[in-house]
Assembly symmetry: C2
Homo-oligomer: 332 residues x 2
């Protein structure tokens, strides 16, 4: 028996409940993991609220967790009971949701946890760095690139700051309020723009000496995205992976054409699904963790009993970085 | 003395006039060309009408011409008097406009005309095939790709049809009226969609068996572009190089993100400006002409005395393919 977080109807954080379940033995290609910690992501709040589906109830939830393998299903090779592992995201949450003391997961979708990394940190690493790896794999970020990062205090935003710095680029963090500006500088942002107070496009042009940003990494969409695109360098690449500010953007084509600008939609699981990209992603993130260049930033930890509270906090936008939930059974 | 087409004020086709000018000797890096024919492009009508600037009057005009070198300026190597050449586009028209019996041009911006190609055909080749080469250089068009081509009866549209076929792809031509549909099939389009009569997105999905288009090559922009993007395959690439239907597009970000779609602004001179892309472009277009895979389609020829009439026809949208103007002095 293990406590698994499920919800039986769409709704607010309180629909998340702890169900006592016997998961049983892993099926072909699966392993059972004793979970030490799982990370929360915004998309999971959207899922819980009914933002996408279809979902049949009761529904599991969650994309990332870290723990210890406790059983192997038929045909699983390359893993042993006792291995410390973290999940890669991209499986259907309904079937392979990661919020729980125990989970079943596809063995092919696991990565080993480096010896020097705690399971709590491992549960916070792969979604943030994996998503921000788009800067490397799609935008080919390199030395001197001005990289504009919106929603910069999110875990993915902070991962983007770290990756930009690791590649010798110049991360320009955009945050809505003044409150997180100092913390973002401390996290490695070369510049911070406070969008509630400043003209974002003008500041980007100012910071880049009129050249504009080579890369935009945007979680916001909507009207702010149009302004960002107006402040891009020729042949710049804007990667859009979220739309907190709106589902549409009214694009000015003349600037897009004259500048030979690329606007690229991006869903985080793409790089996991493509074998070559996944290989590069895992290699880069593991190396970055081992080198100390990539360090997950955990804002706050909750225990599994407080899962509703954890989701409420997730949606409060107070955090800087990741929210992680720990389970009782194993020490993290 | 030579007749050069210039305009002394922005306006309609009639502002184009023949000025008798002595061009003089070519400067450093320049050659003087006895022009046999020059090709017309839509962007030149926009320029003539005051669509972009700044321009000081009287202003030359034109991006492409073919003829015979008759004088070399200081420092020019690799060319000889008597060579048959065509111009690459991308120089400022005000200084290096190509409409005239004689022109000065930068030697570095010339390509040799293949022995089997007439100078009239050469004057019609480089803008159309060079622009459509974006399908190869940016979208990496290949076997089986569904390639949607708007403004398909334009010279660039026809070039895109030929390039798609040359690469084993499936060109889907979009044209506004039924009038040009048969001609586009004859030009090599695998399918023709008449946008005034049909639901373009639904037809694309139907033709591709629900898969959507891997590539969109769009000269139209505006609202029709949003519909095209809704009918794209995952990881598809939409290249936008014109905006006949509108300067803005209201993009739906969810589809862009879920599909990992790329929207790429493109200005035709980019591939000429980048040495590696230019090398590939010239090699591919020359090879395509020699192999017979690329054949410029000339709708109608005018003589230089009728330049205003030629521009009127350019703006009438009656043509299928290229409009070329010939000069009196040399045989084409």
């Amino acid at each position: 028996m293990a406590q698994i977080v499920r919800f039986h109807a769409f709704g607010g954080p309180d629909v998340l409940q702890l169900d006592e379940i016997t998961l049983g033995e892993p099926g072909p290609g699966e392993v059972r993991i004793r979970v030490a910690a799982f990370g929360l992501n915004r998309v999971e709040a959207l899922y819980r609220g009914g933002g996408f589906g279809p979902v049949s109830f009761p529904a599991k939830i969650g994309y990332e967790a870290a723990g210890i393998i406790e059983a192997l299903g038929p045909g699983v090779v390359g893993w042993q009971v006792g291995d410390r592992v973290a999940t890669l995201y991209g499986l259907a949450m309904e079937q392979y949701g990661t919020y729980g003391e125990q989970i079943l997961y596809l063995a092919d979708m696991l990565v080993p946890v480096a010896a020097q990394q705690s399971l709590v940190d491992a549960a916070a690493s792969w979604m943030m760095f994996g998503t921000a790896f788009a800067l490397v794999d799609i935008a080919v970020v390199g030395t001197g690139d001005a990289v504009v990062i919106t929603a910069a205090s999110s875990s993915v935003g902070i991962a983007a700051i770290q990756i930009a710095n690791d590649r010798g680029a110049m991360p320009i963090a955009i945050t809505r309020g003044r409150g997180k500006a100092a913390a973002l500088l401390a996290q490695g942002a070369a510049h911070v723009i406070v969008s509630d107070e400043e003209d974002v496009a003008a500041r980007i042009m100012d910071i880049t000496g009129g050249a504009g940003a080579r890369i935009v990494f945007d979680a916001v969409g909507g009207e702010p995205l149009a302004a960002l695109i107006s402040a891009m360098a020729p042949q710049g690449v804007a990667i859009v992976y979220g739309m907190l500010a709106g589902y549409t953007v009214d694009l000015m084509l003349p600037a897009l054409m004259t500048g030979n600008i690329t606007l690229r939609g991006f869903s985080a699981d793409l790089l996991i699904k493509q074998p070559e990209s996944r290989r590069r992603l895992v290699e880069y993130v593991q190396s970055g963790i081992e080198r100390g260049a990539l360090r997950p930033v955990i804002d706050r930890q909750f225990t599994i009993a407080d899962i509703a509270e954890a989701h409420r906090y997730l949606e409060s936008n107070q955090q800087l970085g990741k929210i992680v939930v720990t389970t009782a059974p194993v020490s993290a």
